[in-house]
C-alpha cells in the first residue's frame, strides 16, 4: 500500500421522544401538515424560552454509555450562532466544549475505534423551494438530535459501513431512535483525507467532509470515490482543498458544496437560558444500570446456545427478531429442534419481520416445515432419471470422482418436485441410478 486513508465520522440521530427538545410540541412530525407542530418556542418568537427535555438528555447520556463514554458530572448547553432561514432563533442550541459524553470506543470487525464525543442539540426547520419562492416548515425545528463524533480511526469504507450499521443497531436496541435514514432520523457525514506518507501518524493538513448521505451504501461509495479523487490530486503533488462536498446519487460522485474558507465562525457561548446540568454519580450509575441489552450481548447470548457466530450476528440485527428467537429456542427444544434450527428458519425464510408471530406459532411453523411429505418412490425415480438425462455432466463428474455433484443433483430434484421430502431418499435414488 502506498497511501494511508484517514476517516472520521459525524452521525446525527433524531431521538424519538414524544415532545421536542425544548418545548411541548410533538416530535412525531413525519408526514404532518407543515407548521402544524409549532409553538412560540420552536418558532423562536420574541420572548420564548427553551425548557430542556429530561428524557432526551438521559437518552443522549445512555447512547454515550452504550459507546463506553465517560459522562462528566458537569455539562452545559451552548449557542451556535449562524443565520439561515430554517434556523428560527438565529442560533442553534447545541453543546460545545462540555458535552454530555466524552472519549468512548466501539468494537468493529475485531478492532477498537475511538468515540470522541456524543452531544445533544436541536434540529432545524426544513426548507423547500417551489418556483421562485422558498417555504419553511418548522415542524422539525427543535426535535432532539444527538451527534456522535468518532476519532479519525477508520482506514477504509468497509469498517465505516460496519460501524454505521452497528451504531444504528445500538440506538435501536436502546429504543431511543428508529434511525430510519429515509425519514432523516440518521444522517451521516464522513470526513475523509488521504496521506501518501504511510509511516507518519500525523493527520493530513486538510479534510473533506461529505454531507447529505442517506444510506450506508452511499457512504461506502462516497468514501471510495473520495479516496480515488484525493489520490489523483495528491499524485500531482498538490493538496486537495479543505471543503464540504455532497453525494450526488445521479452522478455517482461527490460534488463540492462549500469551501471551508467561507465557513462560519459560530461564536459559541454558554446558553444563558438553560442552567448547566450537574449530575450525581448515583444518577449516572442508575442510567447505566438501566441500559437495556445491547447487540454485542445479544450475540453472546445467541452463541451460548451453540449457534454459529455468523448466524448469531444475523439473528441479533434487530432486538425484536432476537427476542423472538430467544423466546422460541426453549420451546423448539421440546420438539427436538435445535437453536440453530430456529435460527436457520428465521434467516432462510426471511422471517426477519417476526412482529406479530409468537414463539409458539413459530415453533409450529418450523415443525410443519421439518415434517417430510410422503412421495411416491416411482414418481421420484422418474424425476431423478429425467434430471440425469437432461444433465449428462452430472454423470461425467461423478465418474471423475466429484462427489459434490450429488448435492447439485439433489437440489435439482428438490426444485422440480417442489415438496418437502426426505433428502436421504433422494440421495439413495440418485446413487442407484448413477450406478
Amino acid at each position: 500500500m502506498n497511501h494511508r486513508v484517514i476517516i472520521g465520522l459525524e452521525v446525527h440521530v433524531e431521538l424519538k421522544t414524544k415532545s421536542k427538545m425544548f418545548c411541548g410540541c410533538s416530535a412525531d412530525y413525519f408526514g404532518s401538515k407543515p407548521n402544524s407542530h409549532t409553538c412560540p418556542v420552536c418558532l423562536g418568537l420574541p420572548g420564548a424560552l427553551p425548557i430542556p427535555s429530561q428524557q432526551a438528555i438521559e437518552w443522549c447520556v445512555q447512547i454515550g454509555q452504550a459507546l463506553n463514554c465517560n459522562i462528566p458530572l458537569f455539562s452545559k448547553f451552548d449557542r451556535k450562532n449562524y443565520f439561515y432561514p430554517d434556523l428560527a432563533k438565529g442560533y442553534q442550541i447545541s453543546q460545545y466544549d462540555e458535552p454530555f459524553c466524552l472519549r468512548g470506543n466501539i468494537d468493529i470487525n475485531g478492532k477498537k475505534f475511538g468515540i470522541t464525543r456524543v452531544h445533544m442539540e436541536e434540529d432545524t426547520g426544513k426548507l423547500s423551494h417551489e418556483g421562485d419562492s422558498s417555504l419553511i416548515d418548522f415542524n422539525r425545528s427543535g426535535v432532539p438530535l444527538v451527534e456522535i463524533v468518532t476519532e479519525p480511526d477508520f482506514g477504509n469504507a468497509i469498517d465505516v459501513k460496519a460501524y454505521l450499521q452497528k451504531l444504528q443497531q445500538i440506538v435501536r436496541y436502546l429504543g431511543v431512535s428508529d434511525a430510519d435514514m429515509e425519514k432523516g432520523q440518521m444522517r451521516l457525514e464522513p470526513n475523509i483525507s488521504v496521506s501518501l506518507d504511510v509511516n507518519s501518524k500525523d493527520l493530513p493538513k486538510y479534510k473533506v467532509e461529505v454531507k447529505n448521505i442517506n444510506s450506508f451504501g452511499f457512504v461506502e461509495k462516497a468514501i471510495n470515490f473520495e479516496i480515488e479523487r484525493q489520490l489523483e490530486i495528491l499524485k500531482t503533488g498538490k493538496l486537495p482543498a479543505q471543503e464540504t462536498r455532497g453525494w450526488d446519487e445521479g452522478k455517482n460522485a461527490t460534488v463540492s458544496q462549500r469551501a471551508k474558507e467561507e465557513a462560519n465562525d459560530y461564536r459559541y457561548f454558554p446558553e444563558p437560558d438553560i442552567p448547566p446540568i450537574r449530575w450525581t454519580k448515583e444518577k449516572i450509575d442508575e442510567l447505566k444500570s438501566s441500559l437495556p441489552m445491547l447487540p454485542d450481548e445479544a450475540v453472546e447470548k445467541a452463541t451460548a446456545l451453540n449457534i454459529k457466530v455468523v448466524d448469531a450476528i444475523r439473528i441479533s440485527e434487530s432486538v425484536q427478531v432476537f427476542s423472538t428467537f430467544m423466546g422460541t429456542a426453549p420451546i423448539a427444544a421440546q420438539h427436538g429442534i435445535t437453536a440453530q434450527g430456529v435460527a436457520n428458519y428465521i434467516i432462510n425464510n426471511k422471517k426477519m419481520d417476526v412482529s406479530g408471530t409468537t414463539p409458539a406459532e413459530l415453533v409450529t411453523e418450523i415443525v410443519k416445515l421439518n415434517k417430510n411429505e410422503d412421495v411416491n418412490e416411482n414418481e421420484l425415480r422418474s424425476v431423478v432419471q429425467k434430471i440425469l438425462s437432461d444433465n449428462p455432466q452430472i454423470r461425467e463428474d461423478f465418474i471423475k470422482g466429484k462427489n459434490s455433484v450429488i448435492q447439485f443433483a439433489i437440489g435439482q430434484v428438490m426444485y422440480v418436485i417442489k415438496k418437502k421430502i426426505d433428502i436421504n431418499i433422494v440421495r439413495k435414488l440418485i446413487l442407484e441410478e448413477l450406478k
Binding site: 420564548a48 424560552l49 444563558p272
Partner: protein
C-alpha cells in the same frame, strides 16, 4: 378625588369598599395620559382597558377579591401581550402582534389587573435615558427638559405622572432602578430568576430581570406577590418559596446591619446626592440599624465586564429578527442596537472569545464573590442609585460611553444576580433622587422592610408632578 393618583393599596381598598369603580380609575388614568404629552406610551389600550374595567366592576360587585382586581397596570413594550402590538420600541417590530402573553402578563391578568397600555422604552431596552427609542424619547414629568432615565422610561414616567397605578419594567443593568430614582418612584429589580422572563423580549438573558414601578414600597411588595415564583416555561426560575412580601413590612429595623460600600462614594458622585444618601443612612442609624463601611473591590471592573457579557448576549438574542417570518428587515435596527450587535459579535469571535467573554465571566465571578463576602457581614447594602441627577434630553446622546457610565452603581447587582430596590429620597433642584438597597439572593422581603421603614417617615410618594 383624583383616582389616578392612588396607590395599589388604596385603589383596592376603595374598589372593595365601593367608594369608586374600576371604570372611574381607568378613565382618570386615560385622561391623565391624554393631558400630558410625555411620550410615555407607545400603545394605549383605551377600548380594551375600559372593557376589562367593566368586567372587573362586575366581579367586584359579585364579591370577588383578587390582589389586583380592577387596578390599571402599564406594561413596558417588551412584554408580549396577546393581540396587542409589542414593539420593543424598535422599528423592527413596528407591526408585530404577539400570539401569546408573557407569563407575568398572564399572572397580572389572573390577579385581576387591567393592562392600560404599552410603555415606551429605549429600543430593545438598550439605554439609560429612554432616548434610544425609535418612537422618540420619553420626557421626565418633573421637568420635561430632562430625561426620565431608562431603559424603562415610559413605565417610570407613567407611574410618576399618575397615568397608571403601577407598571412593569425590566432591569438588565439598571433599567428599572435608574428611572425610578429619576422619577420619584419605587423600582424593584428582583433576584435573577425570581420572576419569569418567559414572553419578555430578551435583551441579555443572563442579566435580565423582571420587575416593576410603584408609588410605594408596600405596592412593590403587593406586585411581587403576584409576579414571583417558579415558571415551568423559564428554566432559570428556581423552585424557591415565595413569601408573602406584604407581611414583612413590620416597621422594625432594629439590629439590622447595613453596609455602605466605600467604592460607591467616590469622585464623580454628585456631592448633593452624596449628602442626600448619607442622610438616609443616618436615618437608619438613628433608628437602631448598625452601619458598617464595607468594600466591594471589583466595582470598578463592573461596567467593562457588563459591556462585554451584555452585548455578546444581545448580538445572539437579536439574531432571530431576520424579517423572514415577522417584523422588518435588520436594516431597521437603530444605532445603539447595531453598536451592540457589532460589539457582541466581535467579542464572541474565534480568537477574541478568551480575551473578552471568558475573561468577563471570570470578573463576573469575582464581583459575585465581593457581594457574598459582604453579605457575610451585613444584611443589606445602601448606595445612591445614580451618581448624577437626571440630565437634559440630548445631553449624552452623542457620547455612548458617558451614557454607559450612568449605570455604574446599578450593573453590579445584575452581574451578581442579587435584588435591588430604588426608593425615593427627595429632590435636588426639583429633580428626584433615589437610594438603592441591595441584598443577598432572594432577600426581597428584607429590601421591602428596609425601604418601607424609610418611606413611612419620608412620604415623597405623596408629591406629584404638575401639582406642587
Amino acid at each position: 378625588m383624583k383616582l389616578n393618583n392612588l396607590t395599589i393599596k388604596k385603589t383596592r381598598e376603595g374598589l372593595t369598599n365601593k367608594q369608586f369603580s374600576s371604570t372611574e380609575v381607568v378613565n382618570n388614568c386615560l385622561e391623565q395620559i391624554k393631558k400630558h404629552d410625555l411620550n410615555a406610551f407607545i400603545t394605549v389600550c383605551e377600548k380594551e382597558s375600559l372593557e376589562q374595567a367593566k368586567q372587573a366592576d362586575e366581579l367586584i360587585k359579585s364579591g370577588q377579591n383578587l390582589p389586583l382586581l380592577g387596578v390599571p397596570i402599564a406594561a413596558k413594550d417588551i412584554f408580549s401581550t396577546k393581540g396587542i402590538r409589542t414593539t420593543a420600541s424598535s422599528k423592527v417590530l413596528e407591526n408585530y402582534i404577539p400570539e401569546y402573553d408573557a407569563t407575568v402578563i398572564t399572572k397580572l391578568k389572573e390577579a385581576g389587573a387591567i393592562i392600560i397600555g404599552k410603555t415606551n422604552c429605549d429600543a430593545w431596552a438598550h439605554g439609560s435615558s429612554g432616548e434610544n427609542s425609535d418612537f422618540g424619547p420619553t420626557k421626565n414629568p418633573w421637568n420635561e427638559e430632562y430625561v426620565p432615565g431608562g431603559s424603562s422610561s415610559g413605565s417610570a414616567v407613567s407611574v410618576a405622572a399618575n397615568m397608571t397605578i403601577a407598571a412593569t419594567g425590566t432591569d438588565t443593568g439598571g433599567s428599572i432602578r435608574l428611572p425610578a430614582s429619576f422619577t420619584n418612584t419605587v423600582g424593584l429589580k428582583p433576584t435573577y430568576g425570581r420572576v419569569s422572563r418567559y414572553g419578555i423580549i430578551a435583551m441579555a438573558s443572563s442579566l435580565d430581570t423582571i420587575g416593576h414601578f410603584t408609588k410605594t414600597v408596600e405596592d412593590s411588595a403587593i406586585f411581587l406577590n403576584v409576579t414571583a415564583g417558579q415558571d415551568k416555561k423559564d428554566a432559570t426560575t428556581p423552585l424557591q418559596a415565595v413569601p408573602n412580601y406584604e407581611k414583612v413590612l413590620t416597621g422594625n429595623i432594629k439590629g439590622l446591619k447595613i453596609g455602605v460600600p466605600k467604592e460607591f462614594f467616590i469622585e464623580g458622585l454628585d456631592k448633593r446626592i452624596k449628602e442626600n444618601i448619607e442622610n438616609a443612612i443616618k436615618f437608619y442609624e438613628e433608628n437602631g440599624a448598625e452601619i458598617q463601611e464595607i468594600s466591594l473591590p471589583h466595582t470598578d471592573d463592573a461596567i467593562a465586564c457588563y459591556y462585554i457579557i451584555q452585548p455578546a448576549e444581545v448580538s445572539s438574542n437579536l439574531s432571530r429578527y431576520d424579517g423572514i417570518r415577522f417584523g422588518n428587515l435588520r436594516d431597521s435596527f437603530g444605532q445603539e442596537a447595531k453598536r451592540r450587535i457589532m460589539l457582541g459579535t466581535f467579542t464572541l469571535s474565534v480568537g477574541y472569545y478568551d480575551a473578552y467573554y471568558k475573561k468577563a465571566m471570570k470578573v463576573r465571578t469575582l464581583i459575585l464573590e465581593d457581594y457574598e463576602k459582604a453579605f457575610q457581614k451585613v444584611d443589606a447594602i445602601i448606595t445612591p442609585t445614580s451618581p448624577t441627577l437626571p440630565w437634559k434630553l440630548g445631553e449624552k446622546v452623542d457620547d455612548p460611553l458617558a451614557m454607559y457610565l450612568s449605570d455604574v452603581f446599578t450593573v453590579t447587582a445584575n452581574i451578581a444576580g442579587i435584588p435591588g430596590l430604588s426608593v425615593p429620597t427627595g429632590f435636588i433642584e426639583g429633580l428626584p433622587v433615589g437610594m438603592q438597597i441591595l441584598g443577598p439572593h432572594f432577600s426581597e422581603n428584607q429590601l421591602f422592610r428596609i425601604g418601607h421603614f424609610y418611606e413611612q417617615a419620608h412620604d415623597f410618594y405623596k408629591r406629584a408632578p404638575y401639582e406642587s
